[in-house]
Assembly symmetry: C2
Homo-oligomer: 365 residues x 2
Amino acid sequence: MSEKNLLFEAFKQTKYQVAGHGKREVHILKEALQEFDGQQESDIYGKGKVIEEFQVKMAAYLGKETAVFFPSGTMAQQIALRIWCDKKVLRKVAYHPLCHLEIHEEDGLKELHQIEPVLLANKNRLIELDDVLSMEDEVACVLLELPQREIGGQLPDYETIENISKYCRNKGIMLHLDGARLFEILPYYKKSAVEVCSLFDSVYVSLYKGIGGIAGAILAGDTDFTEKSKVWKRRHGGDLISLYPYIISADYYFDQRLEKMEQYYVEAKELAQMFNSCHAVSTMPLEPVSNMFHVHFHASKEQLEAVLLEIYEATDVGLTSYLRATSEVACNYEVSIGDLYAALPKEKVKQVFLMLDQRMRELNN
Amino acid sequence: MSEKNLLFEAFKQTKYQVAGHGKREVHILKEALQEFDGQQESDIYGKGKVIEEFQVKMAAYLGKETAVFFPSGTMAQQIALRIWCDKKVLRKVAYHPLCHLEIHEEDGLKELHQIEPVLLANKNRLIELDDVLSMEDEVACVLLELPQREIGGQLPDYETIENISKYCRNKGIMLHLDGARLFEILPYYKKSAVEVCSLFDSVYVSLYKGIGGIAGAILAGDTDFTEKSKVWKRRHGGDLISLYPYIISADYYFDQRLEKMEQYYVEAKELAQMFNSCHAVSTMPLEPVSNMFHVHFHASKEQLEAVLLEIYEATDVGLTSYLRATSEVACNYEVSIGDLYAALPKEKVKQVFLMLDQRMRELNN
């Protein structure tokens, strides 16, 4: 068994886990269905009570005219950008170099839609107003991802978003929100979803990250936009005869977890502080602005794996199932706080961080 | 309420229904999950026991090297044709004028893949060997739909498929099977799925028609083909973090219904005979070759709706929820036999057809 699998398996065996909502197992769906009326009719190709009511609920929550349920964010976002490109008769959009569309979608945007991306900022920092102002290419749309996941879930000042929005509206550039983790950032900004979304022409939110559903996404905007998105949804093969397994569970966990986003945010700050108090460990952002952050270790991946295996064994607390090497002497992983954090015994946590601090000191002496 | 809705609502109220497996309600998913281990891990982006085992099972059943689960047939088939077009460096495929890709997918094939279709045969009849032989355009792939759904689910002679397959292999043209209803035609051909699929380079089957799952499809072929299909699945936004709600139910109903396809076929022939014994009513095909057929009435849509409403009221048996007008004096609808047919009280059925015959005589006097 490789080192990576050792860590993965050891993590799975731990009794307590620091991040997330728990294992992605089938009982998540069973629980969501338990109280649900079995006589409820299925949605049929985007029609029917179960999908329409949820779409109305999400449109209201986001403050947009209409919303459409999609099986995936990958599909929803490519389609959003395509609609804006068609509107502007210009197949060019601007986004961050570590945008999901750029690094996780096998170039679907280019291969299926022939849309060319203009990369803003650089991969180590956020997009700022200046990056948009100094853009040389004409683009149909700018995409902002809030928070910027691949750099630890950082956020710009709220004023920056307002200024980018104002500039784009003046210039006739459409502004799209990659809000995969929109729910999770509202406590930091102290804004409602309606307020944040009012700065954007179209909005995507994910239903299986902070919300913890099975899969699925919402794309929202004005009705002309969402009607077009339904046509493209069919073209992509996303207009399934029935999407209700995802919708019922999204709705169920939305109602349960939306109000917990503040708690996850507070807990993320607490946990980050514990990491930062360890020798040669730091979080990005130093103080989290949502339920997520990255933890960086000054130790090789192999060294840290040995440390973690020891900690899991001694405490029965799992920190992560994987590590990413960033250099020969550094590695990191991503934390997203969910339901599990609140259930951790404080004594165990203390023990984990005592051990981690001690081992990191030994490694860096 | 419009006439169409009247019929739809009256149909829903009937106690007995002649076709299908029953209402598409949430209990279908609940039943499939009932005995399923809640501790089973989710599939994650195409990996994991729940998806991999089902794919292996379906590949073996179809006699192909590998199989990939897709959220929809729309996605699976566009991707199959795209892979063959890329292989041949030629964006042209041949299929029937009433092919699903031509009439039900908002031109996804053209809009997303820039593939140009060559239409074989005409919309009222099956593709024959001559249509393929006399094709003037060079194409990368020929798609055959078995049975040809939009013309009542007709089938060519088995020899025709063998000859088309032989010709295409000689010419280096790829042959793709739209097997949305493949399970349903095997009793007529008296062939195994392996035998039929051996004539094709790639095969798509649907998991919510005869099988009666929630949604989803399988695409099968050699490993080079299916590996490419996974890349395109991600591009299309179909590589969901979790597809297990569809997979678990597809597997559950596959095991339950595969062996019933012979029964559905026999019942379809029996039912078609009863329609054909009525005045001014005929089925297409006259003798069904699967569980499906179309019923054609020499009566206007409005006239027949009134007749059906009367029959539903008198017998509590529903025949159809909709009618399609084909002219001012003719209409039709589609029948697909499923679990419900066997549960019909024979006396009720007799009463239905007595009334139908009598009313059709009155209308055509």
